[in-house]
Amino acid sequence: MSEKTISKSHERYLLKLKKRKQSIFLVQVGLLLLGLILWEVAAYFKWIDPFIMSSPSRIWKLFLEYLTRSNLLHHVFVSVAETIVGFSLATILGLLISIGLWWSDYWAKVFDPYIVMLNSLPKTALAPIIIIWVGAGYSGIIVTAISVSIVVTIMNMYNSFISTDSDKIKLLNTFGASKFQVLRKLVLPSSIPDLISTLKINIGLSWVGVIVGEFLVSKAGIGYIIVYGSQVFKLDIVMMGVVILALISALMYKLIAIVEKRFTRWLE
């Protein structure tokens, strides 16, 4: 807040907090390094079978090789693009549908059992059907990704919309607000925290859809690499695919966290 002179005890308190934060970060990095070293050593001394379990150095070597020889970046790009497109479309469509349901309580009631059923259905079971219907290419994979995350979006956002404080709606009504104004000025902005937590869930779900889609049918992508690796029984390739996947999804999650900070400054 304001620039006051900081007392000695407050300074100590701030320092303690900072130390704690640093310590958490160091332990996090340390754990990662420890795991990698253990894995490497275990593979080196043949405590584990490196052919099945792979090892960090083998993955790294393969990674460099793939970078130059096999156009790894292209595979990564294809998967990331599919995920982003699927994720965005699922979010936009899901939002539109949940707005529609909020608008008409009657139709929300009508569709309720269908949405509940779709939600409990494992969407990956639909993937083979979707790919046959939509086509065995990018579009099939994207639609699979959408199908996995759209139902959660609809349910979360609809619930968020209908839990808008009814007294606040009443307040806007005393100003003579139209239903559209209530939506724009109140319902949508008050749902931003819920939207962001939905986005966080969706990014993971979209990846599930994309990888499942790529397992079934693809010529490129991280899912393709993983399936290829398992078919030729080179576990190094599979492991590399998984590691890349982990890194990218962590990065995307981080991006959403940055967006979250920007849009929720008004929260206590």
């Binding site: 606040k168 009504n173 005393t174 003579g176 000025k185 902005p189 008050s190 931003i192 008004w266």
Partner: protein, 258 residues
């Protein structure tokens, strides 16, 4: 009273329907309210006080009878009627300035001139340093003052106050009710205030209307005449010698048995 009749409530009644039952909340309410007058409405809990306000504001339609404001029948929320709630209902994602202009925004009256007016009002009411703060940074009393400015900016002829201080702690409540009561008198506003605080009703109002148990009807109307010395503010009025007589009479009229 010499001034003009602003609100006319005629044979007003309302019945609620739920799955289990139907409830008659208000029955045959008749009341006239004149300009520059502050009316306090007290009654046992569940007697339909807040429902009455909602009907006057046009949010709810009555089952029988009608409400007229300035001679026009109320059937939807009117632009010249302002409503203040128990809670401030500030929008957490808007800063204070954007909170007070939300009503203007809805009614399409947002212009540079009113924006300046909003800032000036915020300054006048001691919120000048908080124009760009967010609601969570303000105390309960300040937030309720912001809510009042939000209402006043629409320049309503009639203010409806639904237990506007009851969410505040006692000290803040006394200070804010004193302040708002003074503002209402100074700005020559007509107001209807629902409260369960008898002392608050007496100190602010010109007339206090006592409603009966459900179904609520007008049981008695007290004309409040307090002799206070010097400047007449709600807090000063509490020291008037007649204050406790009114208090006792209204308390008896409320007929509360626990």
């Amino acid at each position: 009273m010499a001034s003009e009749k602003l609100v006319e409530i005629k044979n007003l009644g309302i019945t609620y329907h739920t799955l289990e039952e139907e409830t008659e909340a208000l029955r045959d309410i008749n009341l006239d309210i004149y300009e520059n007058e502050i009316i306090g409405i007290v009654g046992p809990s569940g007697c339909g006080k807040s429902t009455l306000l909602s009907i006057i504001s046009g949010l709810i339609k009555p089952t029988t009878g009608e409400v007229r404001v300035n001679g026009f029948k109320v059937d939807k929320p009117l632009k010249n009627v302002g409503y203040m709630f128990q809670k401030d209902h500030l929008f957490e994602w808007r800063n204070i300035l954007n909170n007070v202009i939300i009503g203007l925004e809805i009614q399409g009256k947002l212009k540079d001139k009113v924006l300046d007016q909003a800032k000036e009002l915020l300054h006048n009411y001691g919120l000048g340093d908080f124009i760009y703060s967010y609601p969570y940074q303000l105390s309960g009393g300040m937030r309720q003052r912001v809510a009042l400015i939000r209402t006043l900016l629409l320049e309503p002829d009639l203010l409806l106050l639904d237990e506007p201080f009851s969410a505040l702690d006692y000290q803040t409540r006394l200070a804010i009710s004193d302040e708002i009561g003074t503002i209402l008198k100074r700005e020559k506003k007509t107001a209807i205030m629902v409260t369960h605080d008898i002392a608050e009703a007496i100190s602010i109002s010109d007339r206090v209307v006592v409603l009966s148990q459900r179904p609520g009807t007008v049981k008695k109307i007290f004309e409040i005449k307090l002799t206070c010395e010097g400047k007449k503010t709600p807090l000063k009025c509490r020291e008037a010698p007649e204050f406790r007589y009114y208090f006792n009479d209204i308390w008896k009229e409320l007929d509360i048995h626990v």
